[in-house]
């Protein structure tokens, strides 16, 4: 028996689970070990892939609440008189339009329009923004932000080593955060905190940022604290969450949750080789509301005619297409799967795939080559799963 975790490219992985010595660990690592987590290498970090059961963790987030350590993600601070203008130039969205304590999903584009990373940007004050980048893209994002800062009055600080980030996600997430001892002095009460809004607060005297954001398709919060307070916050959340059924959840559950929610994962749906339009992200590029920004002319020119576009695929049975598997239309190769799994919530296989544009209409029947067996798959609108509001 062999396996390829997070990568079907290495299906003959002989040494299972052995940590590479230069892999980084989260400030919460000792608590994960004590909780019996299994670890995986993700973006250069050794992070919990699951604690006990990835399915149980997935279902806990859909029905109660889950607690994730996402400290591998990069925190980059952008400060200065021209921070807003600068971000409008450096990134694809119009970040200057953000109000204080508002957040936005955006992209960092290369000059050719390819996607360097997808980001969440939080406006902390008139002159201060927090940029959250993917762990594996920390260096390219920091490098691009520094390179684009020429001529602007801004300071770029990579705070990744200084902050821990945890996510409480699920229908009972608010109850958990509300009940957590030590969280005080919220500028905006949790009940008034809208989706993609954040507030500053304190946790046991340390600065805390609470954002109503997430990557699961559920209501939830992401909490950013200085590394020194991370373990105490994790313990406090765990304790407060017990009555609500809060379950520690790893990256395996995070991946199936975000896939059901139709959210892209960098390196799978998003790469340097696709333009935002192909990934269904034209709406996050502010072509009409701002001027010059890196990648603008390439996005305006658009992808080549015939460039593949991202779609959702739904199948029957229990066999899932996986990243890298071919999508076919009859005998013709028509695309490639970027992520796929048997959906724990829906009970059937789901996938995201890039397919030829004439095959992208919902209802189109295609097939996925699952290691030599063709599994029928129907183009479906994203997301696969939407919570009841």
């Amino acid at each position: 028996m062999t396996e390829g975790e997070f990568s079907d490219a290495t299906r003959r992985l002989i040494v299972l689970g052995e940590l590479v010595s230069d892999t980084r660990t989260s400030p919460l690592h000792p608590l994960h070990e004590a909780a019996g987590a299994s670890f995986t290498d993700f973006g250069g970090w050794s992070m919990p892939v699951r604690y006990i059961s990835d399915l149980a963790e997935h279902h806990a987030v859909r029905t109660a609440a889950g607690l994730f350590d996402i400290s591998h993600m990069a925190e980059i601070l952008v400060d200065g008189r021209q921070a807003a203008e600068y971000l409008d130039y450096a990134l694809a969205g119009r970040l200057s339009a953000l109000e204080r304590f508002q957040a936005r999903y955006t992209l960092l584009l290369a000059a050719n329009g390819g996607i360097v990373d997808d980001l969440i940007v939080y406006r902390l004050s008139e002159v201060s923004f927090l940029v959250i980048a993917n762990a594996g893209n920390r260096n390219p994002v920091v490098a691009a932000l520094l390179e684009r800062a020429g001529g602007f009055e801004v300071t770029i600080t990579d705070g990744t080593d200084d902050y821990a980030l945890v996510a409480v996600q699920g229908p009972r997430a608010r109850e958990v955060v509300d009940a957590t001892a030590g969280i005080t002095d919220l500028s905006v009460p949790l009940g008034d905190l809208g989706y993609y809004r954040c507030t500053d607060a304190f946790f046991d005297g340390a600065p805390l940022l609470i954002a109503r954001t997430g990557y699961t398709g559920e209501d939830g919060f992401e909490l950013c604290v200085p590394v020194a307070s991370a373990q105490a916050l994790w313990r406090a959340l765990t304790e407060a969450g017990e009555p609500a059924g809060l379950t520690l959840a790893g990256l395996a559950a995070r991946d199936t949750l975000r896939l059901e929610a139709g959210m892209p994962l960098y390196g799978h749906e998003l790469t340097l080789d696709v333009l935002p339009q192909q990934a269904g992200l034209a709406r996050v590029v502010a072509l009409k509301t701002k001027g010059a920004f890196v990648g603008r002319s390439a996005v305006e020119a658009g992808p080549d005619a015939g460039a593949r576009v991202l779609v959702g695929l739904a199948g029957e049975g229990r066999r899932a297409g996986r990243a890298g598997y071919a999508v076919t239309d009859g005998d013709t190769e028509a695309g490639i799967v970027t992520s796929g799994a048997l959906s724990p919530t829906l009970g059937h296989p789901i996938a995201m795939a890039y397919v030829d544009p004439h095959l992208a209409a919902p209802g189109t029947t295609l097939a996925i080559d699952v290691r030599g067996t063709w599994i029928p798959a129907t183009v479906t609108t994203l997301p696969f799963y939407r919570r009841e509001s």
Partner: protein, 124 residues
Amino acid sequence: MADKTRLSYTPEHEWLLVDGDIATVGITDYAAEKLGDVVFVELPAVGSPATAGTVVGEIESTKSVGELFAPVSGEVVEVNEAVVDSPELINSDPFGEAWLIKVRFTELPSGLMDHAAYQALVGE
């Protein structure tokens, strides 16, 4: 559940229980844990030939795809339909209810490990 200390093991994280010329084959608890929750199992047909080192089945979890290798050459004489119907047995009882196939073999391959050697391989 089989006595783990009396089983033979392969570097592909499979176990064998040898009884006469029949080898019962499953995957180890270590492999099951690394896979995560198993959601799909495909096993070979009864009567099909097995060649040591070739893929005869698949084990899918939410996150991964594992291949089942035939650890011995011979004929598949029985497969465990219960595990096809309830793949989660692989996580709950990998050495017992979740045996996968029985193979009638002519000779055992070299390179099988005893329990101690396998424990050393997985660092336990």
